[in-house]
Symmetry: C2
Subunit: 986 residues, 2 copies
């Protein structure tokens, strides 16, 4: 291990990095060393590398867990400014570590880093070696709440993991630390003892005092304008907080207060540091911005020819590959349309490292054209003598023509003077150069970042541009980038930069180097090859079920190379959700199943490019084994704790500011679920299931497994509850209360599950809304939208829960909320829920008239659904259509607020008397709670009387009494029909 | 700088060391990292190297001092067990750092390390590179109060110093940390800000709380049997204590308590660690002790020939070279004398790396001899029948002879039986092999240590033995050492190990390799060459004045190579004592002066062996410049503080347990001096000088200069006082109160100086004795003996202070003591002082009769001196001799306790009546306070009457009244003479 650290130190020193020492106060990560978190601020250059033993009390495992240590070793590199090729330089460091990057599968998997407590975030990747995360690679964007300029590249190696992989050992203790001495032999006792301290023995009140003392000193040092000691004390605060947290001694209020305090201090430290460096005149100098590219003379081209424009990137997040292909396609198409350049088909496709535009048959220049410009009105252009006025002269001068050249033109029937100037067509090179430059400048993604080139902003750095018109390179200059005629292939290729002979040959050129440009082609290749491999392993892939993973891996590689791996069948004893969650979520592997869907001990991983398959397979298998071993460890550890004891751990988990801990939330959910259960008819067994499951609600959030794999919440509750002897019903309810997980996901199947799931979501909605959280178009950090969709979805799935209207549900949750929930908040929430329902109906393709018609019923979505279904059936029934029209007429004429009461004796015309009678009869015949299906046959008797009434009777009689009676009659009909739907919408 | 750290890491890794990381809590030195202080305990092997940023709040200088940092970088190596050649391996590391150890002067200068707070100590060296201390090299002997076994070698590099030297820069900020970036640019702000925190801004009460919290946690972790977190908290305690100390916030009682607490905790941590490792079954294994050497068959030799025995060593402390030469000479001579081996002269000489014994003309075997053994008395050997008794039979059997072989022998005039057995002479090789082995085993020095060979113990490791009889190697086996026929020369020589052809050629062989074996020869060579160099530089050396330095350098080198260097004359503005103190004490340089003793800006350094003189000169000059720059910095800093303000700093300096701070002590000195002044006649000016100097007493102990260079105490007081406008008299008194510094040093010249110096020493003596401290033959850590010598010396030098008797002085000091001083303590102290006086007289060569005679006067040493001087003059005066004899007769005959009163009328004999008259006349004629000089002429009149009295009168008359009168007369004479001296001793 020490050789590895020395090799890295040597490697980075040779690349201009300083080596500094680990910080001499406990830090949770190398990032917190002032050599990172302070030095990334400000304009000074800073290239540094260091080892950082990172202390995470929460990861204490007494040295027993093979992959988890209270102190692990990070190797941290900061490159400020970004050298322009940090990924390539980083790959060199892996070679320095003795990793054959040609044989192994190195991938860059989107991973965006944020440390809210430090006010810091950045975009980047986890770097995977044969499926093992070995490095965090981040472009630092903010620190201490301040944007950093220039941007720093932060590379953090996880040394123990790298060495476990390099040395092929399964437990950190078995790493050869030095010749003949293992990691465990050197650090085993310390791991055990410090774990004891952090988990069991640290004195809570002393550590609380320490926290207070440190925070006070940090505050004082800020006041003394000494950011260095202040930062030191912030770090001590942070460590002490972590100790308290690991000891389980942080109450909700303490957590919130402590975090707020540390965050505020950290921000002040950063600000003060930046200030002080400026006052000191930036002792290390100031980074010069990169020189802007200068576009050379444009070539003259002869066409028509194909045009290529390639935007070269560092690995995009997979979903951005898809999005950006579309965005560039739109941009290029629209921009071309705004020119006069003739062209054929526009094709845009891409990989994680490139978005490529190919435009067929592009003319070599725009045709010439003319343009007529309008001047002053003719009357104002010449004076009485017919001489050009000043206005005309000014216009002519402005257009660069002699005043004699003005002609008469007619605009909108009015005569003006005007002038026609030629618009000569621009050469293709000029058009394209400008157009592509604009495309690059305007690139934007969901999350954007800056890198070395401060003028550009995109989801990942743009590193090269290639632009060709046939064989001819077309210079495109954007900020500091200047396009060329080369493209980049696999970084580990012998010649990673290759010439593109012509635009026409580009796709084949890439293919000849193994790169499949087409996203769809890559997906197809993966599905085909992975399927073959699964078959060979005696199983099948669930291509549809794994669509999300397949989509992701398609855009993680340029040269898909699926391979099959296996794992020890003993792990099949773990719940399959655990196994597949690990495969999909952590590893992006495709599970292999037998014909009836049972997991087989195999998986398909998709590597990039030519690799040593055996080595990569072995690596991936080792990673999966480690993860399964970890999972098995959690599984066994969790099984030792009764659910009710585990639940006590929820007190340590904060839910949200002002809303208490997860324990508080679980209690609210249970209470709300019980109240909701009272609204409906339940069997005793169901009722006691609700109570018992409520008592255990969310207990698995405190399990090791769910802390590690949060997507298994609910799943683990079910598994642990079952094994703890709870009934199947309770276990199922605990599982189902987490459903649906997202749009289109499974919904609860049992009433107790549904009630708990509703209570869960209603608590979330009321609580968070009450403290001011809102979902916006672009941001919904607490998942309010998803919760609302869940409520509606569940209520639609359970017509028997109709008494739980949206209103009733919200009120039930509000009754238990931690904060006061105003009527206004409830009204807004109601509206928010209804809008979700409306959206679901729209997405499902319902007629918008029908949707509008049933929306007033949305408070009980299942009822609205039923009505909508009836509506669908009745839509083509003439009687219904007639009735609906008749009722709509009634509705339209009756002013809002008209009472549904009248004096029948005041009615004078036969038609109105007939209507009165028909109405009274219908009222008698209607069932108590009519549905559309029961209403229409009865109410159909009103169609003719209504139509006759309108034909024969003038509603707005002059006699106020008569008028009131007529309106009252109609209002009565309106109200009879109103509960069924909004007839006016039809 | 980082390249240096990497080079060291690589070098030590290649030699089997693990690399670990700096500790993640502030430590004052790499030693405190558990990788040293805990790992040196117990039997497990441990080879480790690491960088340790070492935090010393007290060294905070805001980054302004060129050589002093609050955080400096140590590189720490632990080799456990000692590999047997750690010095050689260490030298290799210097080469790895790019130091040409052939061109430069690398020396090993005695430096013994102890950290009482850690219960740790070891023996070793500072390693000097061209006069610059670059490394601390220690053989760890104890840690946590526990002896370590096996012994660890600890090597601590001071990285900043090494780099300042390698890079030839004068300020740490100018070290090139990495390409294009200086140390100051990287760490400057941190140095400044952390200095601010430590010196100015740290909150005292918060840090006190922290100390308390840490100590409590450490205590709790010990109780939980977790030494790792316990140690962590001990380190935090220690750092916090250092912060408080740097803030000037540690009161005396706090200091004592805190130290005691930390020491106790550290010891418990060590004990617990050792226990836990044992319980864990020593995960790293157990070091095997070295194999004992097996002596091969001894050769047969033919002589007489010269015998060589060389004991090869790592560098001895200089004074031990001299001592051990003598000790080995005695041992060899005595042991040879106990054999029958004929031999010529025994010569023993040596250098720091070898003690060599040469014995001329050693016979090749002992002559054969006989030995007669005594048996029972003849009478008991044979029975009445003449048959041997059982006793005789038993004796014969015991000696292995038949009973018939018994012969008669006479012992002390009594006849016994006996037997004579032959004692064949042993071959020389056997005699010598055993003898030399015993010499090595019995080697002992003032301070002894263990190294790899657990069975030997000496002041430094014994690394090789060479034993030759003429050309023949004589195997000597001691523990794991087996002698050979090679010796070792300069470690940097091409062949550092060379064959010794014969004992006779040994000295020349060494000489041919540049080594001067003879201590006296080396000294002579140094004096000669250094004198030449001084002359060439236009000055002279004070060979006698610098005798101590010359003696030291003589034994710091084997191949003395003096060179002259210079320093900037601007430093001559500093007080010369500063300059020479730095030269002698820190650098072992010889100052060069002009004819009238004024310092010149040159010095002579003595390098070892052939070196690149220019490079070594430049190095030494740079070191001196740095030290002078430091001194100039302190000088300027100190001058900014008024003495009275500086004195406030004494409160921070502990004097001794129970005796308060140095401030308390200064106050006591002032009070005592004032009281002493009241006992004598002083001019008003003198009296006010005593008061003023008393008020400032010891203030310079709080100055930066004296904290750095403690031997300048007093000197700096004088300089700073003068410059602060104090009178010359006060300045002188402040200087003189520190005199005499040691035996034979300068004494005060002024009465105020003498009074303060007396008060100083009397306070030390009474205080420390009262709390139980005693000087023993081998140990006098508080300098009680030196203080006592000082008191006596001063009183002898100042006859005008005669009213200050030892008794009066001690009582005056006791009156102000911090603790109760009993009469018994005072009596013991009085005796202790008198013994010092007696020792001084003996050392000065006075007749011991005279000494005994004046010792009763020692309470006033100046008076005793005067008497002694008179005695010297009178010793050959017949009248005096007669008088003395007469008075001695009187003294001898009068029983103790006889009252000096008699009834003259009772006297009957003329001789007694004559004596009565003579006595009465003398009593009248004597001056009031007679001295010997005034007494003898007057008392001479008694000689004849006394002698006549004894001739004529029987003192012991039968008449009791008469007898009483005669004794009373004689007692009167006795008492007349008694105050002058002890006549009976003459």
């Amino acid at each position: 291990m020490q050789d590895a650290l020395l090799a890295l130190q040597r490697y980075w020193t040779d690349r201009g990095c300083m080596i500094v020492q680990p910080f001499n106060t406990e830090v949770g990560a190398g990032t917190m060393n002032p050599a990172t978190i302070l030095r990334v601020l400000g304009p000074e250059p800073w290239h540094v590398a260091y080892v950082e033993p990172s202390v995470r009390p929460d990861d204490s495992r007494y040295g027993e867990n093979p992959n988890r240590l209270q102190t692990h070793t990070q190797f941290q590199v900061i490159l400020k400014p970004d050298p322009g090729n940090p990924v390539e330089v980083y790959l060199g460091s892996l070679e320095a570590l003795g990793i054959d990057i040609r044989a192994h599968d190195v991938r860059f998997v989107e991973d965006n880093w944020a440390a809210p407590a430090l006010g810091a975030w950045g975009l980047g990747w986890e770097v995977w070696l044969d499926g093992l995360e070995i490095t965090q690679f981040t472009y630092f964007q903010q620190a201490g709440g301040r944007s950093v300029e220039p941007v720093s590249v932060e590379i953090t190696y996880g040394i123990e993991r790298i060495l476990m992989a390099l040395q092929n050992v399964g437990h950190f203790k078995d790493i050869a630390y030095a010749d003949g001495i293992t990691y465990g032999e050197v650090f085993g006792q310390s791991e055990y003892e410090m774990s004891r301290y952090y988990l069991d023995d640290a004195d809570v009140s002393i550590n609380q005092e320490l926290f207070e003392a440190y925070a006070t000193e940090a505050r004082r040092m800020l006041d003394a304008r000494l950011p260095v000691p202040a930062h030191d004390y912030v770090l001590k605060c942070s460590h002490t907080f972590n100790v308290l947290d690991a000891r389980g001694a942080i109450s909700t209020t303490e957590r919130a207060r402590a975090f707020g305090r540390m965050r505020a201090l950290a921000r002040e430290v950063s600000a003060l540091w930046a200030e002080r460096r400026e006052e000191l005149g930036y002792p290390l100098g100031v980074v010069a911005p990169p020189e802007p590219a200068v576009r050379p003379e444009l070539p003259t081209v002869t066409g028509p020819r194909t045009v290529l424009f390639e935007i070269g990137l560092e690995e995009l997040p997979p979903h951005e590959v898809t999005q950006q292909i579309a965005a560039v396609r739109t941009a290029v198409t629209e921009k071309l349309a705004a020119t006069r350049l003739a062209h054929g088909a526009v094709t845009v496709d891409g990989t994680p490292r490139r978005i490529a535009v190919l435009v067929a048959d592009v003319a070599d220049r725009e045709p010439d054209a003319e343009k007529t410009m309008r001047g002053p009105k003719l009357a104002a252009a010449y004076d009485a003598d017919g001489k050009p006025t000043k206005a005309a002269q000014g216009f002519a001068r402005g257009r660069g023509v002699p005043v004699e050249a003005l002609e008469r033109i007619e605009v909108g029937g009015v005569e003006h003077v005007g002038v026609t100037v030629p618009e000569p067509g621009r050469p293709a090179a000029e058009v394209l150069s400008d157009l592509f430059a604009a495309v690059v400048t305007e690139l934007r993604a969901d999350k954007n970042m800056r890198w070395r080139d401060g003028k550009l902003s995109f989801t990942r750095p743009i590193r090269w541009l290639t632009a060709l018109y046939g064989e001819t390179a077309v210079p495109v200059a954007v900020s500091s980038l200047l396009s060329g005629r080369t493209t980049r292939i696999r970084r580990t290729a012998e010649t990673p930069v290759v010439d593109v002979p012509s635009a026409e040959s580009y796709v084949d050129l890439l293919a000849s180097h193994g790169i499949t440009l087409g996203e769809a082609d890559r997906r197809a290749a993966i599905v085909a090859r992975a399927g073959e491999l699964a078959t060979a392993a005696g199983g099948v892939l669930d291509v549809d079920g794994e669509a999300a993973v397949i989509a992701e891996v398609t855009n993680l590689v340029e040269e898909p190379n699926p391979l099959v791996g296996s794992f020890d069948p003993k792990y099949l004893e773990l719940p399959p959700q655990i196994l597949t969650t690990v495969m999909r979520k952590h590893q992006r592997y495709l599970p292999v199943r037998d014909a009836d869907g049972t997991l087989l001990p195999h998986f398909v991983a998709v590597a990039n490019g030519p690799i040593d398959t055996d080595a990569v397979r072995a690596g991936n298998e080792a990673v999966l084994r480690a993860r399964y071993e970890d999972a098995a460890f959690f599984w066994r550890a969790d099984l030792k704790i009764a659910p009710v004891d585990m639940k006590a751990g929820l007190a340590k988990l904060t839910f949200a500011d002002k809303l208490g801990s997860m324990a508080d939330r679980a209690e609210r959910i249970a209470a709300t679920a019980t109240d909701l259960a009272r609204l409906v008819d339940l069997a005793d067994a169901e009722r006691s299931t609700v109570d018992r499951a409520g008592a255990l609600a969310k207990f698995d959030l405190a399990s090791s497994m769910v802390i590690e794999l949060s997507s298994l919440a609910g799943t683990m509750a079910r598994e642990y509850a079952k094994r703890a002897g709870e009934t199947d019903a309770v276990a199922t309810a605990l599982y189902e209360m987490e459903l649906p997980r997202g749009g289109g996901g499974d919904v609860p199947t049992t009433v107790p599950g549904a009630l708990l799931a509703l209570a869960d979501r209603l608590d979330l909605l009321t609580g968070l809304s009450a403290v001011g959280e809102k979902a916006t178009g672009s941001s919904d950090p607490f998942g309010l939208r998803r919760a609302a969709v869940g409520v509606v979805t569940i209520l639609r799935a359970f017509p028997q829960l109709a008494p739980i209207t949206l209103t009733a549900g919200l009120r039930a949750a509000a009754a238990h909320a931690a904060v006061d929930v105003t009527d206004e908040v409830l009204a807004d929430l109601h509206e928010f829920l209804v809008r979700r329902y409306e959206q679901q109906l729209t997405d499902a393709g319902h007629d918008h008239h029908h949707i509008d018609a049933v929306l007033p019923l949305a408070d009980a979505p299942a009822h609205a659904d039923a009505t909508l279904a009836e509506l669908g059936k009745l839509a083509h029934d003439d009687d219904f259509v007639d009735l609906a029209q008749a009722l709509a007429r009634v509705r339209r004429i009756v002013p809002a607020g008209t009472p549904a009461a009248y004096d029948p004796t005041a009615l004078v015309e036969p038609a109105e008397q007939a209507l009165h009678r028909a109405t009274a009869a219908v009222a008698v015949d209607l069932p108590e709670h009519p549905t559309l299906a029961t209403f229409v046959p009865v109410a159909g008797a009103l169609t003719t009387p209504i139509n006759t009434f309108f034909d024969d009777v003038l509603v707005m009689a002059e006699d106020p009494n008569l008028r009131a009676s007529r309106l009252g009659l109609l209002a009565t009909i309106r109200d009879l029909a109103a509960p069924l739907l909004d007839w006016s919408a039809l």
